[in-house]
């Protein structure tokens, strides 16, 4: 009986130590991330990034985004809803973090679509068909072209332009900035330079609402 108690108490202590350690570590890390983001604000916002919403909007969401990432797809309508609920007060910039295999090529396609003025249409088309062109977490760029067929893009021009050196440089810059900001998973959101304290819809919503309250007092 004494032995059983000893076993149960030890197991409980081990698990409590784990949970306590996790809480301490998370608190420390989110504090560090917030400080790093403030410090690296110049890495966070680049002129080259596709941006949606009024330029004068005071709340700026920067999303590190991977077109092959399922959670990015799930968050996109949520962010759009947040923006629609606060018209002209929020703008959204997309930075690339192509972590999946083949994603970098999809990103280049999006940038080539942007040259034809259809970035957001292309992004929505790509997200809507994500299950079709991702296989085992690997993006299949050839299948992405099919998804882009229906939005009035000149696909020949897109394929010609997607390997342009300026697109390559832009993507490389985004990847380097993501690394500097310690972006390790997508989507990662920064709202006026502040990262989410932990990951989730509610956390993003809280962050946006705090920023709105600060900016539009």
């Amino acid at each position: 009986m004494k032995q059983k108690t000893l076993l149960i108490v030890s197991a409980t202590l081990l698990i409590l130590a784990f949970i306590g350690g996790a809480l301490v570590y998370d608190a420390k890390r989110s504090e560090e991330a917030a400080r790093a983001a403030q410090h690296n604000l110049s890495f966070l916002v680049r002129m080259h990034s596709p941006t949606q919403g009024k330029a004068s909007a005071k709340v700026h969401i920067v999303e590190f985004f991977d077109p092959a990432c399922g959670t990015c797809k799930a968050f996109y309508p949520f962010v759009k809803k947040l923006m629609a609920a606060n018209p002209d007060k929020i703008k959204l910039s997309v930075r690339y973090a192509p972590f999946h295999d083949g994603s970098d090529i999809v990103v280049k396609m999006l940038e080539a679509a942007r040259k034809q003025g259809k970035f957001w249409e292309a992004m929505e088309a790509v997200l809507a068909t994500q299950e079709i062109w991702t296989r085992n977490h690997r993006a299949q760029p050839q299948l992405v072209l099919n998804s882009l067929g229906g939005i009035g893009l000149n696909l020949e021009r897109l394929q010609r332009e997607m390997d342009a050196p300026e697109i390559g440089a832009l993507v490389a810059q985004d990847i380097a900035d993501g690394r500097a900001l310690n972006v390790k998973a997508t989507p990662e959101f920064f709202v006026n330079g502040r990262p989410m304290p932990s990951f989730g819809y509610e956390q993003l919503k809280d962050l946006v609402e705090t920023a709105l309250a600060d900016a539009y007092r």
């Binding site: 197991a11 081990l14 784990f18 350690g21 390790k184 998973a185």
Partner: protein, 150 residues
């Protein structure tokens, strides 16, 4: 009779210590991957496969004390120990890159974390498996000595 009971007690204590080491290693590994977001490499996964079950298998031999526990815990621990040795040798560079089984994902030789300038994750794993094997053997020896004296 009292002496033998003491010996069972110490065999039990050694086995209990063994379980503590396995539990701490398991939670430590989970902390690295789930809290610190360090992605485990392939070899790390194989070592996990042989460490994690010990956390559940050993209590089955602890309550009530089962002298045969070494028969079902030691094979796991030994295989894990050999993988840990292989991993440490790989990281140290004694095993050529060519037979490295990591083809995708995280490289097994990339140093993701280095403590105190020399201590890496595979070293901790090897240490844990060595202690587990040693404690299992000691516990079993303690018990069989009791049997001999009977």
């Amino acid at each position: 009779m009292k002496a033998t009971e003491q010996e069972i007690d110490s065999a039990w204590a050694l086995l209990f210590a063994c379980w503590l080491v396995a539990g701490a290693s398991t939670l430590g590994a989970l902390f690295l991957s789930e809290v610190m977001a360090v992605t485990p490499c392939v070899l790390c996964w194989y070592q996990r496969i042989f460490m994690f079950p010990l956390v559940l298998v050993l209590p089955a031999g602890l309550i009530p004390f089962d002298r045969k526990v070494v028969r079902y815990a030691l094979p796991l621990a030994l295989v894990g120990w050999f993988i840990a040795v292989f991993h440490v040798l790989l990281v140290a560079g004694y095993i050529p890159e060519g037979i490295k089984p990591c083809t995708q994902g995280v490289s097994c030789t990339e140093d993701q974390i280095v403590w105190f300038g020399f201590l890496k994750i595979p070293h901790l794993s090897l240490l844990a498996f060595s202690v587990v094997v040693a404690l299992l053997v000691f516990s079993s020896v303690k018990y069989s000595r009791r049997k001999d004296s009977r």
